[in-house]
Symmetry: C2
Subunit: 508 residues, 2 copies
């Protein structure tokens, strides 16, 4: 289990990615060296076309931090929703909470001289080390020989795994509702997307999300179900806080899916931007947070986040996409991929040719903030716990508006309480015989008229026709609102629009 399984990746790496190579024109080896050749112990560089750091206009950077989310921007604490009440000492602090990033620093910290210079496409080493330590602490893979590689965020990560896996004509399985921009990456690689049914029926008694029976049956009968298509090369899943449905796969389900991957030899692309934001089941929102909402890091890891597919990966067939977008900030354009080194190597070749290095500026800031201020992996997890509580509270507020509405009491709404992340899916229950898709489009104009933006589930379907029956929901998120009042008001507008729509006989 803890040794490199010896599993060969030749069937999974795309021919395109495998053929790509890169050697820098400035690199000089010792190949062809004359007898007795000895390199100088302290060579000087007239070769690298890089400006010395003395040319950079920046001497140092001070990053001024907050102690908890919304510390300085919670202008309307209508429901006393900030974490503020539990940081009385920090609240009263008026001084700056500053991390200084130096021009030259100890090797533990990225400095300006290094991070603002040309750097390795795989990522700058202190940040790369952090990603390894972090994964080892939280989601340790069940084999040796894995690695991490820095990306320009999850979007870039997804494009890179598509390139690494898919040749033209290769098949990739996806949850039928998913992060659809990934379809463009698949298209770009020439891959063929095939949707997998989700179970979204709360009355079914079965686990919500990926329909394991459907997947098993499809794989067993692939040749008759999908005549002419090659067997799948990969499965793309958002297993925790799924986008758009908000569902989370149990560990048992993950083990069964992984067994199928072993049996039918496909890779699993695990996209997990929200997994750390695990949410307790919905409860009526309190006026203050409870102290026990703040978990200990050990308890959080052991009992409150669902283990990654990595933790059951004995072969090295899981490619996990991580991002700093949801936990730090999206504009960083920073994330990483965890996978067998066979994959990270071809992705590194791709980066060398196509994207080049990730932003050194973002790597500089994230690494310094986490290492100097948060204090490394566990400190970073403590920041995540503060985020998590804030997201939980926001979810509670939004769903409370729905559950207390007339629309809900009259049975117009079905709500999936998300177990992680930032999305809740809300189903509209139309009477039999109604053209649901047409009505959902129309109701969307009603939402716009009432002043609330939502995403039509159908817009996130891999194949609208395939998913028509189940595409009767909207995706709602409690992430972008400026404050609790906006969440409450947006939820109110949503249910008011639904009530009005039903009152008018499903007409605008």
């Amino acid at each position: 289990m803890t040794k490199d399984s010896g599993f060969k990746h030749e069937n999974l790496v795309s021919k395109r990615a495998d053929a790509r190579t890169f050697t820098h024109f400035s690199s000089s080896g010792t190949e062809g060296a004359p007898p007795g050749f000895k390199p100088h112990p302290k060579p000087l560089a007239l070769h690298w076309g890089m400006p010395n750091a003395g040319f950079f206009p920046i001497d140092s950077i001070d990053v001024n931090l907050v102690e908890y989310p919304f510390q300085k921007s919670l202008s309307i604490p209508i429901t006393n929703a900030s974490v503020e009440s539990f940081f009385p000492d920090e609240k009263s602090t008026t001084g700056k909470n500053t991390v200084t990033i130096n021009k030259v620093d100890d090797s533990k910290y990225l400095d300006i001289t290094t991070a603002l210079q040309y750097g390795p496409v795989a990522g700058l080493s202190p940040l790369l080390q952090f990603t390894e330590d972090f994964i080892t602490r939280v989601h340790k893979p069940a084999y040796e020989g894995w690695g991490t590689i820095i990306t320009n965020g999850a979007g870039d990560g997804l494009n890179k795994v598509a390139d690494a896996l898919l040749d033209p004509g290769d098949v990739i399985l996806l949850e039928e509702f998913t992060f659809v921009p990934f379809l463009k990456n698949i298209e770009n690689s020439g891959g063929i997307p095939v949707p997998i049914k989700l179970n979204l029926d709360q009355e079914s008694g079965k686990e919500l999300g990926l329909d394991l029976d459907y997947l098993t049956n499809l794989l067993e009968n692939w040749k008759t179900e999908k005549p002419g298509l090659p067997s799948p090369k990969a499965l793309y899943v958002i297993p925790t806080g799924q986008n758009p449905t908000g569902t989370t796969q149990s560990v048992e389900t993950r083990k069964k899916v992984y067994a199928l991957a072993e049996k039918y030899d496909f890779a699993i692309i695990e996209d997990d931007p929200y997994g750390y934001l695990s949410l307790q089941p919905w409860q009526k929102p309190a006026n203050t947070f409870k102290l026990n909402d703040f978990l200990e890091v050990d308890d959080y890891i052991a009992n409150h986040i669902t283990p990654s597919y990595l933790t059951i990966d004995t072969s090295g067939r899981v490619l996990r996409i991580e991002t700093f977008s949801k936990l730090f900030a999206p504009g960083l354009r920073l994330g990483f991929i965890v996978a067998h080194k066979r994959f990270t190597k071809v992705i590194e070749n791709y980066s060398n040719v196509v994207t080049r290095s990730s932003s050194g500026t973002s790597q500089l800031i994230v690494q310094n903030v986490i290492a100097k201020k948060f204090g490394g992996v566990d400190g970073w997890l403590q920041w995540i716990l503060k985020m998590r509580v804030t997201y939980s509270h926001r979810r509670d507020l939004l769903l409370n508006q729905l559950f207390e509405s007339e629309a809900y009491k009259k049975g117009y709404l079905g709500v999936i309480d998300p177990t992680a992340g930032m999305f809740a899916s809300v189903f509209i229950k139309f009477p039999e015989g109604v053209d649901a898709q047409a009505k959902l489009q129309l109701l969307n104009f009603k939402f716009q008229n009432f002043g609330v933006g939502v995403v039509l589930g159908a817009n996130m379907a891999v194949d609208r026709k395939f998913s028509e029956e189940r595409a009767t929901f909207y995706r709602l998120t409690f992430a972008p609102a400026n404050n609790d009042q906006e969440i409450i008001e947006a939820g109110k507008r949503f249910v008011d629009a639904v009530e009005d729509f039903f009152a008018k006989g499903l007409e605008y």
Copy 2:
């Protein structure tokens, strides 16, 4: 001349790029709206999956700047080479020279709330505006309908123009010695590179660099010279401070090349990372800079930089690649492309699918430093003038070591004095009949033994066989050295190695 020329780009845009589309699943239009539909004036967002800026751990950022290159790092001012001597007031300043980046700011400045959020792939608007203003001031295109788009640096820009122009089988012309990593982007797009001869013979009396006669003849006789190949779709040039040769095309040459582009209908990819670092002809290095080394911005633009191909582009067929790497810092991974909007639009589609947005962190810092501290376009040019003087001095130091050497006096060396940029090419003059390529390889080990890194010209050839005769040089750069002493010492090691090599009968 100043109107959109009406030139159609259909022949130049690749089919791949043209076919690419992107629509976000969250976008909602008014198509299909019911009669009387009215959107709410102040809608609330439950749709965008973006964390509110209150979740970002950063409250503000203070960027502490230097007043001139090497202000704080010139530990060994052996030749008094810093610009320091001309900033006596600033030198004595001990206080911090700080730009504060705020969580929320005036729309003139990027703020943390905007720049660290998800943002447009074309770039954040205040920085995009700066790039337009900058190009209008320095290299105004000769037609209307051009635009700019932010990139992740020049490497990303090059990959994007390759994708925008080249379908499999399309031909692209390149200077025979060039920035060879671009060949990988061409390969990735399926393009076919064809080298164009450079004139590197200083005794020829002809302009150094792109051999216009060769290019003209090749195009006139394309079908017989390159049987089976389609006529070229694009020409890739580094016209100013060429990498690796250091040569600069005159305006007259540019006009003739442009006329060929019009006649044979190809695009011109103008890669110009170094063009702003124009250098006066070499002079014996002084112990201090002269005050008149610092130009006025108007004089600099009018008389000291060579106008971009953009300024003679009446059709909109020039794609100019800019970068902040050499003038600000490479680790930013930030640059921009200037081109007809027909091109910037397909590049935007590519970015939406493949690379996504550029680093908001880098955009944030660059825009604030330029707008708040340097004071916009002209202030930015004043910073560049300080860089330029420092580079000139470094070039003077390095070449002085070569010119004063025994190796030079004995005729072993030919040196092209660069008119811009950071590279000088140094030719080794072997006796007739010597296997120059073998000797250059061997001499390179001598350099490594003496402790100086250089780049073999042959390593930067598009086609080694084609360029064998002219590949008798090394590329030397004065950019990475930590101080003047290192440049002097590196130059000394270089000439010592050459002398030793010749003294030993061209053996190691």
